[in-house]
């Protein structure tokens, strides 16, 4: 049997899921100009919020995903206001260090509440489909569809809504945007809320296939960063494209590498892009 079509299908699915948190990470970079490493813990918080809604309240996957988005968005916004926004004037790197400290604090709050045990979502078990020798689970297809719907929503909002246009304006030229009467603080808050919401939803989507624990988000940061850097840090379509490259690359790496090194593929991708095309595939323009 042929392995490559199966790996390609798996790669496209995991790339689409990865794109959601990668878009969040890169959007914060585009508007606020610093790498916010607290995405690791907010992906975990989203995954746990979705778990609480799914297992605790008995909600199906889609409403649970909305819960993951809302909780991660609100926690992300609150923690940014308290911990990171006051430090941003000191420079991007200071804010980056503080965001690592923040991610440790948030991750351990999850650990304090839920413990270190592995937890699984309560989803109906369905038999995998076989299409021309390729196995896909209906759950995977649903996740893929959800990821694509979310992405379409993000791109439509950026392109057509006033708020999306304001975000792009601030990302392009904050000074000019302010002259035009756009309040950068408000746009920053909105970006953090939506971006962290996406990170949280992405954390849940990535966790749906396996089980989750307080380190869930941390395990995905390497591919998330890789997706953002490969596509061009700060470029939203770039993050989506980069996530596809990383997702497919991770799966194809299974042909030559042991599965344990799957997440190292992200690092290799970062190194290759920085060595040969430092601005990423699509450059650093936000949209």
């Amino acid at each position: 049997m042929d392995l490559i079509p199966q790996l390609l299908v798996n790669g496209i699915i995991s790339g689409a899921l990865l794109a959601i948190p990668a878009i969040g990470f890169t959007a914060i970079f585009a508007v606020l100009r610093f790498p916010n490493f607290s995405v690791a813990s907010l992906a975990t918080i989203g995954a746990f919020a979705g778990y609480a809604a799914n297992v605790g309240l008995g909600l199906p996957a889609v409403p649970a995903l909305v819960a993951a988005f809302m909780v991660a968005g609100l926690v992300g916004l609150a923690s940014d206001e308290i911990a990171l926004r006051p430090l941003r004037p000191y420079g991007a790197l200071t804010a980056a260090i503080a965001s690592i400290a923040l991610t440790i604090v948030l991750e351990n709050m999850v650990r304090f509440g839920f413990g270190n045990d592995l937890r699984g979502y309560d989803l109906p078990l369905v038999r995998d489909w076989r299409i021309m020798g390729v196995r896909v689970g209906p759950q995977q297809v649903q996740n893929l569809a959800l990821a694509l719907v979310i992405m379409a929503g993000v791109f439509a909002a950026l392109k057509f809504s006033r708020i999306g246009k304001a975000m792009r304006a601030v990302a392009d030229n904050p000074t000019l945007a302010e002259l035009k009467g756009i309040d950068p603080v408000r746009v920053g808050r909105l970006t953090v809320f939506v971006a962290m919401g996406l990170v949280g939803a992405g954390g849940m989507l990535l966790g749906l296939g396996t089980s989750i624990d307080p380190l869930t988000g941390f395990r995905f940061i390497l591919p998330i960063f890789a997706a953002a850097v490969v596509g061009g840090l700060g470029s939203i379509p770039g993050a989506a494209l980069g996530a596809m490259v990383v997702g497919i690359g991770e799966e194809l790496s299974l042909l030559v590498l042991s599965p344990a090194y799957k997440s190292a593929v992200g690092f290799i991708a970062i190194v290759l892009v920085l060595a040969f095309r430092p601005r990423g595939l699509l450059g650093e323009r936000a949209y």
């Binding site: 790498p35 980056a96 690592i100 400290a101 991750e107 304090f112 344990a260 090194y261 920085l274 060595a275």
Partner: protein, 301 residues
């Protein structure tokens, strides 16, 4: 109790070496390194393998550890030299993750998650455990003293002045004719070498290394040490390291006072305190306990 105290002081020495290394990279040159755990692990494993697998003397192992960590530092900083510091942040964080993956999975080399036991320490076996702890403590303090003296000299030297100029305004330093790129790579390599030295010291003192020991949390501990002590201040780095050990060890004694906390909850609470204190200190006193003071020029001394 004395043995525990000596062991704790030895760990404080390891942290002080890490803080001194980070001080060269972040404090003096203003370059970020979020992969401290990776350089620390690289040094620990390099020295452990050189002494256990190859049977080399400890001192050779330590030199190899420093060389490996410095080379890795030079490579990573070289790779992101033309880009904003954000990229170095991402690359160092990723590097640390890859080192952990290699340590956990290349069983033929690192023995996987079982780790490498039986790493030789100076005179271990011929001394009683208490005497060994006393000797390690003394050696570690000597190493910290040496590293303090060397980095303080570096700070006062023209090289250190140039690094501060680069940190504060890279373009201006370049216009003034400073070899910005070369100096940045050199500073990162020197700092990374000290991180590797700390790893080697840790391995020989505890006699055991495993992938779990090198968690990313270490990066936060050391940033807290440096920020609390005073970023850019050599003595501040050492004092900050002792401060962090005081919080870490002190919380062990406070923990039993809170009844009904599980082990995981106690550990989680400790990390919450560490992370929050770093953010708080950055807010309230960003210059730290001992603020950086520019060295007096040689003529007025």
């Amino acid at each position: 109790m004395l043995s525990y105290l000596l062991a704790t002081l030895t760990f404080a020495g390891v942290y002080a070496l890490l803080a001194l290394g980070l001080n060269v990279i972040w404090g003096m040159a203003g370059m970020i390194n979020l992969g401290l755990a990776g350089f620390f692990a690289l040094g620990a494993y390099a020295s452990a393998l050189a002494t256990v697998a190859l049977g080399l003397p400890i001192i050779v192992g330590i030199v190899i550890a420093i060389a490996f960590a410095a080379a890795a530092g030079a490579l990573l900083s070289r790779l992101t030299l033309n880009l904003r510091g954000d990229y170095l942040a991402i690359v160092t964080l990723g590097f640390s993750e890859v080192i952990r993956l290699i340590a956990a999975n290349e069983i033929w080399l690192t023995n996987g998650s079982d780790g490498i036991p039986g790493i030789p320490g100076p005179l271990r076996g011929t001394l009683t455990p208490l005497e060994f702890n006393a000797l390690s403590c003394a050696l570690l303090f000597a190493a910290v003293g040496l590293a303090w003296w060397m980095t303080e000299r570096l700070r006062r030297a023209p090289f250190g002045r140039a690094l501060r100029a680069i940190r504060d305004d890279e373009t201006a330093a370049a216009v003034a004719g400073k070899p910005v790129r070369r100096y940045k790579v050199q500073a990162f390599a020197i700092g990374a070498g000290l991180l590797g030295l700390a790893g080697a010291a840790y391995a020989h003192f505890t006699s055991y290394v495993a992938p779990d020991i090198f968690r990313p949390l270490l990066t936060i501990y050391i940033f807290l040490a440096l920020t609390a002590g005073g970023t850019g201040n050599t003595s501040g780095a050492v004092i900050g390291a002792f401060f962090v050990i005081l919080i870490l060890e002190g919380s062990r004694f406070i923990e039993p006072l809170f009844h009904g906390l599980s082990g995981a909850q106690g550990a989680a609470l400790r990390e919450i305190i560490i992370g929050s204190s770093l953010i708080l200190i950055m807010r309230i006193r960003p210059q730290g306990l001992l603020a950086e003071r520019p060295p007096k020029s040689l003529r007025t001394q």
